[in-house]
């Protein structure tokens, strides 16, 4: 559907995108996730045609479009600032693309009406953008981009200008819209929550390259690299070293606190030491020493209440800090006020071993 083959782009001496391959399937909701300056917006602009790659090629529906200008690509973009035409009302904004394509008046009018209804903008047709709320502007921008039925819709941080409540609502709507229209969506965001909630697949970018591509569950559950583990969600990152002779199951010593036996696939072949990642919600707390392996004695340092869950910061005797999140009320059974001693269980299956680039070589 959308395919980038070995594209790279530099601005002056700064490499925004290092040679990158990316294939987005038809009808897929793909998110490009990364911190600012990671190259995600440049990647999007390479697809829309606002930038030309230094190397490599861009393919749409199997056709090489690398040299085609944006107005001749079957791709529309929703801009971060919405970029609604201030001198046109809602109806004219939405109909702009059809007018450029010289669609017959009657058909254009019908399609504009249909999309305005679809986006819940009925009654605003004659208003100028300055008289719309943020959420309505967002909908007009979407309506304007989908009315020409492009095969791919690009969304550049479309929700970043909305307040938190509206953003959550729009996430669900965007996802629903994508499912209904069957258009391929490529969304750029730095908000991992947004990416996890909406995407079929996520490509995590850092320093102009793709660190990992996978479903939200894969990205979150088994981050491929150290960067992904740190950027997507929170994680406890601990140094672990292999202590067995390398013939049996891998046995590792974590942060000089505890020894654990892992399943064979969990530990990369030939590695003697690594930084492992453990999601905070996968740590279990207990008042008494549990019977299972992986128990660490800790002192509760801080507890913060977040409504549905609580965050607990704790410290081992040797000074290693761990973070756990537990459902609210889960700690009611035992005394664990700040400052008291308790036990924390590091279960083998909660451990993932992301590789750093030095160890993994170039991105897959």
């Amino acid at each position: 559907m959308v395919e980038l083959r070995g594209v790279s782009k530099s601005f002056g001496s700064i490499a925004a995108v290092t040679p990158t391959d990316l294939a987005v399937r038809a009808g897929e909701f793909m998110t490009l996730l990364g911190p600012s300056g990671c190259g995600k917006t440049t990647l999007l602009r390479l697809i829309s045609g606002f930038e030309q790659p230094d190397e490599g090629s861009v393919h749409l529906d199997g056709r090489d479009v690398t040299r085609l200008p944006p107005n001749r690509r079957d791709v529309n973009q929703v801009f971060q600032s919405y970029a609604l035409f201030p001198h046109m009302n809602v109806r004219e904004n939405v109909g702009f693309g059809l007018r450029m394509q010289r669609t017959a008046h009657s058909e254009a009018a019908a399609r504009v009406k249909e999309v305005i209804e679809l986006m819940g903008l009925g009654g605003c047709e004659d208003r100028r953008p300055e008289r719309l709320s943020g959420g309505q502007r967002q909908r007009v921008a979407l309506a304007r981009a989908i009315v020409t039925r492009p095969s791919v819709l690009l969304l550049d941080e479309p929700l970043s200008a909305l307040d938190a409540k509206l953003r959550e609502q729009m996430q669900a709507e965007l996802k629903g819209l994508q499912r209904r229209l069957g258009i391929t969506f490529i969304l750029v965001t730095h908000d991992q929550g947004e990416a996890l909630a909406m995407s079929d697949r996520i490509a995590v970018l850092n320093l102009g390259r793709i660190e990992q591509i996978g479903s939200p569950a894969e990205i979150y559950g088994s981050p491929a690299t150290d960067f992904v583990a740190g950027f997507v969600g929170e994680s406890n990152r601990l140094v672990a070293e292999r202590i067995d002779d390398g013939t049996g199951l891998p046995r590792v010593r974590v942060a000089d606190l505890v020894e654990i036996e892992l399943a064979a696939h969990q530990w990369p072949f030939g590695l003697s030491q690594a930084v492992i990642s453990v999601r905070p919600e996968r740590l279990r707390l207990a008042k008494e020493r549990p019977a299972e392996a992986g128990a660490i004695e800790i002192r509760i340092r801080e507890r913060t209440f977040h409504g549905a869950f609580e965050r607990v910061r704790m410290e081992s005797g040797s000074g290693v800090v761990l973070l756990a999140t537990v459902p609210s009320g889960a700690l009611e059974g035992f005394e664990c006020a700040v400052g008291t001693l308790a036990w924390c269980v590091l279960r083998p299956e909660s451990i993932t071993v992301p590789v750093s680039y030095a160890a993994a070589g170039p991105a897959p």
Binding site: V75, N76, Q77, Q80, P86, E92, M100
Partner: protein, 297 residues
């Protein structure tokens, strides 16, 4: 310089200035009363007066000054003035728009430098610059010298003291007044609007007609007023570069006061002329207001 505040940009808060506001406005109101409103009043009174044989104003009511304006001689001069001013305005727009657009789209540092370049002419007296043009355009001047040296022409071109020289002078003098307001509009235009139009299938021409032109219209309107109105009344350039061979309405008015010593007739011309400005001005404003509030077809 009211022209800067075209309606699409001015947001009225609907509040009258308080006591502090009046205090801040007082110097300007005083200045305008003494040097604009009062002279206009005199002009209006004069325009209905007669004159004696020595050119002194006689305070007796008469409408003959206004009747005289309808003389084809003056109407023709007025028409010619309007035509030259319109041509100069058009040339300023055609030359100034791309340049103003280029400056507005430049990176910050280059933008500042180019704006300084645009201001440099204002550091020198307007008259001196006009005399410089005479030195360039006269038959043994720089331009003819250069063209003859390059064998483009064999005999010097007669440019100075022709309508061409007048238009060159007017365009030169007023070009910055066209460029600055257009620059202002162009600079405010969000570049993502251009990208959005491009993305939705508009080629370069459509982008210009559908997005750039409508959104820079306030600047174009202000520029047109700032060039057309003073160009219409200009007498120094027409005098110096046109050699008084092509009198414009400004020269005629000046002559009535200075040479012909017919202040009442000069005043009547001035009043009509001012009313004409007001009409053009409100027309442009109305147009701008309708375009920005109406919502199209």
């Amino acid at each position: 310089m009211q022209a800067w505040a075209l309606p699409s940009e001015s947001v009225s808060t609907g509040r009258r200035p308080g006591a502090g506001g009046w205090l801040l406005l007082a110097p300007m109101i005083g200045w305008l009363t003494i040097f604009v409103a009062a002279p206009m009043g005199f002009l209006l009174v004069y325009s209905f007066c007669g004159r004696d044989d020595l050119g002194r104003v006689v305070y007796s009511f008469t409408g003959e000054n206004y009747a005289r304006i309808l003389d084809p001689i003056y109407l023709r001069i007025l028409g010619r003035s309007a035509a030259y001013a319109a041509l100069s305005t058009l040339l300023c727009l055609v030359i100034g728009f791309p340049a103003a657009w280029f400056i507005a789209r430049s990176p910050e540092r280059r933008k500042e430098r180019l704006l300084v370049l645009l201001m440099i002419p204002f550091w020198t007296s307007f008259l001196i610059r006009t005399y410089a043009w005479i030195a360039i355009l006269k038959s043994e001047g720089l331009l003819n010298g250069l063209l003859e040296w390059a064998h483009v022409i064999t005999a010097p071109l007669d440019i100075l003291y022709t309508p061409v020289a007048v238009v060159i002078g007017l365009v030169y003098a007023y070009l910055p007044f066209m460029m600055l307001p257009i620059y202002g509009s162009a600079e405010k235009l969000d570049p993502s609007l251009i990208e959005a139009a491009h993305d939705l299938g508009a080629g370069p021409t459509r982008v210009f007609l559908e997005v750039i032109l409508p959104l820079t219209r306030p600047g174009i309107g202000a520029g047109v007023l700032l060039v057309f109105v003073p160009a219409l009344g200009m007498f120094a350039i027409t005098d110096l570069m046109g050699g008084a061979r092509v009198p414009m309405i400004g020269n005629v008015i000046q002559n009535q006061f200075v040479k012909a010593r017919n202040a009442p007739f000069g005043a009547a011309l001035g009043v009509v002329f001012t009313l004409l400005f007001v009409v053009v001005y409100t027309w442009v404003l109305r147009r701008g207001a309708r375009k920005s509030a109406g919502g199209g077809p």
